[in-house]
Amino acid sequence: MCLAIPVRIEALIDDERALADIGGLRKEINTALVENLKVGDYVILHVGYALNKLDPEEAARTLALFEELGQLQAARDAALEEGELSMEGKA
């Protein structure tokens, strides 16, 4: 019911309609709820209506945070492996 997906705006038709790329197909969507839309923007699409624009800078910031956690985990894995190796050395 609340299913909504990010789609890319491919062309603007008028103030209230645009063409969006939905799974490789161009479909008309209603954009009356979103202001200052440009081609190339991504919007969250719900029951045929764009609800909001996605902010690419904020998305990049969130992904950078995940990247950091990924590096932390890699360091933890490496430490664990080293620990196991030195245990083996003792055995």
């Binding site: 019911m1 609340c2 890319r8 969250i44 029951v47 609800l51 996605l54 969130t62 995940f66």
Partner: protein, 382 residues
């Protein structure tokens, strides 16, 4: 798909889960409620319970619009559909929900009535234009995500001067339901174990993060708004654990790529114009909640199906063995229902929580059997 795939990366998911295990204090339990059914679905689909340490527990909230609609309102839609002059249009999930005496809209359609499934509410306008000798009623349900499209459709109907179109409005409000959860008898008696909320994704794109600010202030419950992808949910869980560990209690936003404090001002203004708050509205499981739902504003009264057809509020008969009401209050689990899996399944739903993919019973049935058995084993060991 951009903005989807990179938020589903398995290695990153394990990394965030690793950080959760590092930071979660083994001496305490973290009971976190995902309000929204979209999160419930994602949590089971991606096996998130299996990635969490045993003392981080997820409670499924009532944020599934199909699940919380009381049977009486569905019975009213059934009555409408049975009128010979009516074409009743609604979202697909609503067709399968059993009403009183297990009568669903699907069953009513098999009787020869005209019930149609919509992908978009805009299609209801087209159907009205194509059928001038029929009354087309859009049976509208949903939280704040789905309300602005309904508002646009009402505006359009007014602009077009349609005389054969109306909306049976059942739109409900998220913050009101969160207040209700924190005020149930179980919450007052301490039976509801709840340390914080994972806040809705798409609802919040519309209403913003500000409406959650009372929950830390009034109830001491932190809220972290999360996107619907698995990395979003895990990150929000980590943020909640950090707040609880540090003794902080605030509204935080993990879904910054789509949610601001103010939300979508244009959509909010439109909803203000077209709808009004109801004094009170009945929720399945939670009972009557004050100011928790919308009705159509006087300026659009000509398009209000309740007025046009003089609908009277029905009360409906619940299936007594169905545990949906307690599940929706966060105090029972689908496993606690004796009908779960046999005979209640997504193909043969006996309650609303088994119908929508956002319902807790459907999510458990489709994805949850493995992770759930893991949870059960751990609870036995405690």
């Amino acid at each position: 798909m951009k903005y989807v795939d990179e938020f589903r990366d398995g290695d990153k998911a394990r990394a965030i889960a690793g950080q959760i295990r590092q930071e979660a204090d083994p001496a305490r339990t973290y009971n976190l409620m995902e309000f929204c059914g979209g999160h419930t679905h994602a949590i089971f689909r991606y096996g998130i319970p299996g990635l969490l340490p045993p003392n981080v527990k997820l409670i499924h909230g009532p944020g599934c619009p199909v699940c919380v609609l009381p049977i009486g309102r569905l019975d009213m839609a059934v009555e409408l559909a049975r009128r010979p002059d009516v074409i009743l249009c609604t979202y697909g999930d609503m067709l399968r929900v059993p009403g009183s005496g297990r009568v669903s809209l699907m069953k009513v359609r098999a009787e020869g009535t005209d019930v149609r499934m919509l992908y978009s509410p805009a299609d209801a306008i087209t159907i009205a234009q194509q059928n001038p000798d029929k009354q087309v009623v859009f049976f509208a349900i949903g939280f704040e995500t789905t309300t602005p499209p309904t508002a646009l459709v009402l505006e359009q109907a007014k602009k077009l001067n349609l005389t054969n179109f109306s909306v049976f409005c059942n739109h409900v409000l998220t913050p009101a339901a969160m207040h209700a959860i924190l005020n149930t008898p179980e919450a007052d008696s301490g039976a509801l174990m709840l340390d914080g909320f994972i806040g809705p994704a798409h609802v919040s794109t519309v209403i913003g993060s500000a409406p959650y600010e009372p929950f830390p202030e009034q109830y001491g419950k932190p809220v972290v708004i999360a996107g619907f992808e698995p990395l979003d949910v895990l990150q929000a869980i980590l943020m909640l654990i950090r707040q609880l560990n540090e003794g902080r209690c605030e509204v935080e936003n993990e879904f910054t790529r789509a949610v601001t404090r103010e939300g979508n001002a244009k959509a909010k203004a439109l909803v203000e114009r077209v709808f009004e708050r109801r004094e009170s509205f009945e929720w399945r499981g939670l009972g009557a909640i004050p100011h928790s739902a919308l009705c159509i504003a006087p300026a659009y009264a000509a398009f209000d199906a309740e007025k046009r057809f003089g609908l009277e509020q029905l009360h409906g008969r619940e299936n007594k063995a169905c545990e949906c009401p307690s599940i929706l209050r966060g105090v029972k689990n689908p496993r606690d229902c004796s009908l779960f899996g046999d005979p209640c399944t997504p193909d043969n739903p006996l309650g609303s929580c088994m119908v929508s993919s956002e319902g807790a019973c459907a999510a458990y049935y489709s994805y949850g059997r493995f992770s759930d058995s893991r949870i059960a084993v751990e609870e036995v060991n405690v």
